[in-house]
């Protein structure tokens, strides 16, 4: 179904005409509630709103935006408007095309593959954690700031200890988010409990923020009876319906089109919530990234696509992953508003996500956030990143650009945090974690019956038969099977 062009009101049409005569097409146009509007193409020139005010396209000014309103409601559709404009005195320097008017030019010029300067990166705190003067940001209360910082510390310690546990052979696999603590904690802090999270796999901080306990993390990593996933997924593939955190699925980027689907269901239910889907820089090369973003844009779905550009996809550096200016520039290709943010600046991430959430829900549109950061740890416990990158690069980011240190400086300077609290917190978390691991290790693994449940809502006859067969085999050859798992 193509809603190519809707007739806009007279004033808007004339406004566009004026623009067209100046040789570039369209610009931000205020949406007219009663009818549709123009789908304009901003060719990269200066953008003005209907009042002729110059605006910076990168600023998230809510008064001006481009959108084609497609879904008025779930009620029956109204009549299609014909795509030919009814304005009879149209300028003949442009022609109707599916999608909108396009003006002609006799100057042959290719749009450059990259702009002169890279898209700037939004930050609020400088490298030392001091607030930059005159910056745009969302103020946080002491409670939220302290909670954010504690969670970042907890995440850091949790990563260290679980990583060590894997090295000791106690769990089979682990994946840290070292260097990216600000991203997961600060973005989670800016969301509400009703917002649905579709993680990739490096965002346990979001779950931590939402109240997943250290014990619950340990249980999943050990795959024991208490694991919500019933021991069916690898470690770190958390999932918790009650926390609105969808179970992690290993294939990269599959969560992106699903995010569009969830946003679609939120739209149908008219809920005041959004979906947040995370992806790494490598994942943006997957086909699902392209179509997930495209879908969300076409459907006007309230999704925030959060890309953690941490420089590395296992051993593939971003220069080998794509040739664009990162991921933020790709948003425009889909008609998605985007921003680049300093992923190691907790306050910047918090502000950006807050703003994105508001836009996504109120304007029913997807938003793309690219957070620049660095993967300090190895890809996972199956990787040794010193094999493909310089040790001093890793050390630099770990020490000088550490998001946890940076945020600590800020909370300490304001007087909301002290060294004493720091020591107390670290000791307490460490102790809790070690206890949790001990408990998780001792907890029984899921019984044999759980091998066959949840494949379907009720086990069909062939699975019942297979279960019976397996039980018989195990009973007949007990020495060949682990004795500590209940049959």
């Amino acid at each position: 179904m193509a809603n190519w062009l809707r007739i806009s009101s007279r004033t808007v049409a004339n406004h566009i005409k004026k623009r067209m005569n100046k040789g570039f097409m369209g610009g931000a146009v205020h949406v007219n509630q009663s009818s549709g509007l123009w789908w304009g193409l901003n060719r990269g020139g200066p953008v003005s709103d209907r009042n002729g005010r110059h605006i910076d396209p990168l600023a998230w000014n809510r008064a001006t935006f481009l959108c084609v309103q497609r879904f008025k409601s779930t009620l029956a559709e109204k009549q299609h408007d014909s795509f030919l404009s009814s304005d009879s005195d149209d300028d003949n320097q442009s022609v109707d095309f599916p999608g909108g008017k396009v003006s002609y030019t006799s100057e042959m010029s290719f749009i450059s593959e990259s702009s002169q300067t890279r898209v700037p990166c939004y930050r609020v705190l400088d490298d030392d954690g001091d607030l930059i003067s005159d910056c745009d940001f969302q103020q946080v209360s002491k409670e939220v700031a302290v909670r954010m910082y504690s969670n970042m510390v907890t995440l850091q310690i949790m990563d260290n200890i679980f990583y060590e546990a894997q090295r000791q052979g106690r769990i089979s696999f682990y994946l840290t988010s070292a260097g990216e603590e600000a991203i997961s904690i600060a973005s989670a802090a800016a969301l509400s409990e009703q917002d649905i999270i579709l993680p990739q796999y490096r965002e346990p901080g979001v779950l931590l923020w939402r109240g997943f306990t250290l014990q619950e993390f340990a249980d999943q990593c050990f795959g024991n009876k208490a694991d919500y996933g019933k021991g069916r997924q690898m470690p770190i593939h958390y999932g918790s319906k009650k926390h609105n955190f969808f179970t992690i699925s290993s294939p990269i980027a599959t969560q992106l089109p699903q995010a569009a689907g969830i946003a679609y269901s939120l739209k149908m239910d008219n809920k005041k919530a959004c979906v947040v889907s995370y992806i790494g820089d490598g994942g943006t090369s997957e086909g699902d990234f392209h179509s997930g973003l495209n879908f969300a844009a076409v459907m006007e779905a309230p999704v925030i696509f959060f890309c953690r550009n941490n420089g590395w996809a296992i051993s593939t550096n971003v220069s080998e992953q794509f040739r664009s200016d990162g991921i933020v520039v790709k948003g425009r290709a889909y008609g998605i508003r985007s921003i680049r943010v300093d992923g190691n600046d907790a306050l910047a991430v918090y502000s950006a996500v807050s703003a994105a959430r508001e836009m996504a829900i109120n304007e029913q549109r997807p938003i793309l956030i690219e957070a620049l950061t660095y993967r300090v740890g190895h890809h996972s416990t199956s990787d040794d990143s010193t094999k493909y990158r310089q040790l001093d690069e890793i050390v630099y980011w770990k020490k000088a650009r550490n998001p946890v240190n940076r945020f600590r400086n800020w909370v300490q300077n304001i007087g909301w945090w002290s060294e004493q609290q720091e020591t107390q917190l670290r000791n307490s978390v460490r102790k809790q974690l070690l206890e949790a691991i001990q408990v998780a290790e001792k907890t029984e693994k899921p019984p044999l019956s759980e091998l066959f449940t949840d494949v379907y809502d009720h086990p069909p006859s062939n699975l019942e038969e297979q279960e019976k067969h397996l039980r018989e085999t195990v009973t007949r050859h007990p020495k060949d099977y682990p004795s500590d798992i209940s049959v």
Binding site: M1, R70, F71, S73, T74, L75, A76, E77, H80, I196, D227, Y228, G229, K230, R232, Q233, G239, S240, K241, F246, T247, S249, S250, P251, T254, L256, P257, Q258, A259, A260, G261, I262, Y264, S265, L266, K267, M268, G287, D288, H290, S291, G292, N294, F295, V298, M299, T453, D454, V455, Y456, D457, H458, P459, P460, S461, N462, E464, E465, K468, H469
Partner: protein, 410 residues
Amino acid sequence: MAAIFQGVGAAAALSSLPSNSFDSKNFLFSPRRSFSVRKAPSFVVVRSDGTMNLDLNPKGRRAQQFIANAVTTKEDSSAASSFSKPGNELLLFEALREGLEEEMERDPRVCVMGEDVGHYGGSYKVTKGLAKKFGDLRVLDTPIAENSFTGMGIGAAMTGLRPVVEGMNMGFLLLAFNQISNNCGMLHYTSGGQFTIPIVIRGPGGVGRQLGAEHSQRLESYFQSIPGIQMVACSTPYNAKGLMKAAIRSENPVILFEHVLLYNLKERIPDEDYICNLEEAEMVRPGEHVTILTYSRMRYHVMQAAKTLVNKGYDPEVIDIRSLKPFDLYTIGNSVKKTHRVLIVEECMRTGGIGASLTAAITENFHDYLDAPIICLSSQDVPTPYAGTLEEWTVVQPAQIVAAVEQLCQ
């Protein structure tokens, strides 16, 4: 391995049947009643009042099962029923639409997504008129990215909607394999049961009339291994509507295979609300000499061959297996035990098709009852050619079926 699964249950079930239940006459008039005492399927069964009967302890639910299956007394797909109201005559694609429309009215969570399903009404007109009735959000036109709109459907299903995803042609769903296998089939399991995916994925497949190799695929053979999904194939307007409705109401992901050449089949179907059990096979023609198992379009080739066979003095029992995953080994088993000869007629390719799996399943479970090796007639392992004659040679024809039966019954 003897028939370990069906032996016990089937024996118990059979003993409680009225003694003449397998009389072919009774079958013609009341197959439903005989099905209803089988071992209860372990899926949601919908009662005629529309409520879900979720308790499916196979041993204790016989009585419930009676009620549930008495949703409509559908005697036989071709015989006009003297019990039900006159019904209305419609084409298969209209029956699919009717089923879809009724479910959308009944449950506001049901939605449709796919390419051109909105105002265009779908490439085969299955969704015609629905966008106008339910709005263009509930009947959603998607951009061309099968993996993505299937993924979208999965996401929507996990949050409580009941999407019906249409693949314009089943072959295009190969692009959606990642989502169907890794997510659709697995997420219920890997999330520990926290998230369910009540999605229906449907579309036309099979060999059409000179549609070329890419548009003539039999996806059921590729999907059959995916754990966590169910597959059904419709073949008549009656079972198309019934299966569509049952699939939508099921809590599991269901893939409904339609056939490009069957969309214009006409039949008179009942007015009242009914569903077809997702795991049941359909007795098309009871018989004594040989069991012919088939599904989808091949059913019609088999029935055509059956006419010839009857003239030659054979009495074939024709079963439309309908449920491709899991197989209805109960019905099939009973038939094998009666006739001792099995012929499978399918459109899938020889290697790795539904017939291959079915052969293995029957051999494994009912080996002792077979008087002859199972014959499986399938397409050759070649891409379907465009040329009409070549295409005809790649699909099993009635003459081959007759020859195979004659060979089996020697």
